[in-house]
Symmetry: C2
Subunit: 154 residues, 2 copies
């Protein structure tokens, strides 16, 4: 009988009926287990899955696979680089919003406070037309998540 | 002599002069190695560090420690949840920007195309004053990084 899951095939072991891996690592996708195994190791994957309620395990495997792919592609920063870049983007868009809101306040004052104005001289707003794509890709430090702050200065 | 690094102490082994762990896991911070070891395992940490240039290894350990802390705090989603939430925030702020830019275009038309207007009736813009904090915390799927797209539908 050759019904071992991809994990048990990779680990060259018998696939027991209650195998913790088999629901998430079908035999027709060996690369999926191999990727995740190279980063976390089979033992740690099993331990993490054991502590998770069964209906959440598929999501856990997806997120671990995602992180593993990122780490394989970028061994230095993994998906933490993405967190940093997204935070940079948010910071940039917030600056854009603040500038535009100031511009709207100016227009409001012109339209409702001074109805005689014909050719208003607009104030200069910095960064209004900057594209998000202009953000640099340097990675000094990852950005803080809601609860866990890294120990280095932000 | 008791100069073993935190990793070698944890693994109950001699700490060789060229220990791959010792520069990043000082003996006075055993929790740091323990966290990262619980997620990646000592063998995988060593393998990842070996393939990275020495001057980038400290950053790699920081990012792995960060991911490990996230995974210990949230075994199901780890730091992928943060990526999803940041993408949600960016999507929301982009919508805000689009609405505000439409509002500015309206003001521009009023001020420069119709100078006689006194009490302009403004169009309705949705979400202008919504706070970023209003974003939900549901986690259907993590968002796509620049290069690695997860296999599920976005």
């Amino acid at each position: 009988m050759n019904s071992r899951c991809a994990a048990c095939k990779y680990l060259r072991r018998r696939c027991p009926p209650d195998c913790i891996f088999s629901p998430y690592f079908p035999s027709n996708n060996p690369q999926r287990f191999e990727s995740i195994h190279r980063i976390y190791g089979a033992s740690n994957i099993g331990k993490i899955l054991q502590q998770i309620l069964p209906h959440l395990r598929a999501e856990a495997v997806e997120s671990m696979y995602y992180e593993a792919q990122c780490r394989l592609a970028d061994p230095v920063y993994g998906c933490v680089k993405i967190i940093y870049q997204l935070n940079q983007n948010i910071h940039h868009v917030h600056n854009q919003l603040a500038n535009i809101q100031a511009q709207i306040a100016f227009y409001n004052a012109q339209m409702h406070g001074n109805n005689q104005i014909q050719n208003a001289e607009l104030p200069a707003f910095v960064g209004f037309n900057n594209s998000l794509a202009d953000q640099g890709n340097a990675f000094p430090h990852p950005a803080p998540p809601p609860s866990i702050r890294p120990p280095w200065p932000m």
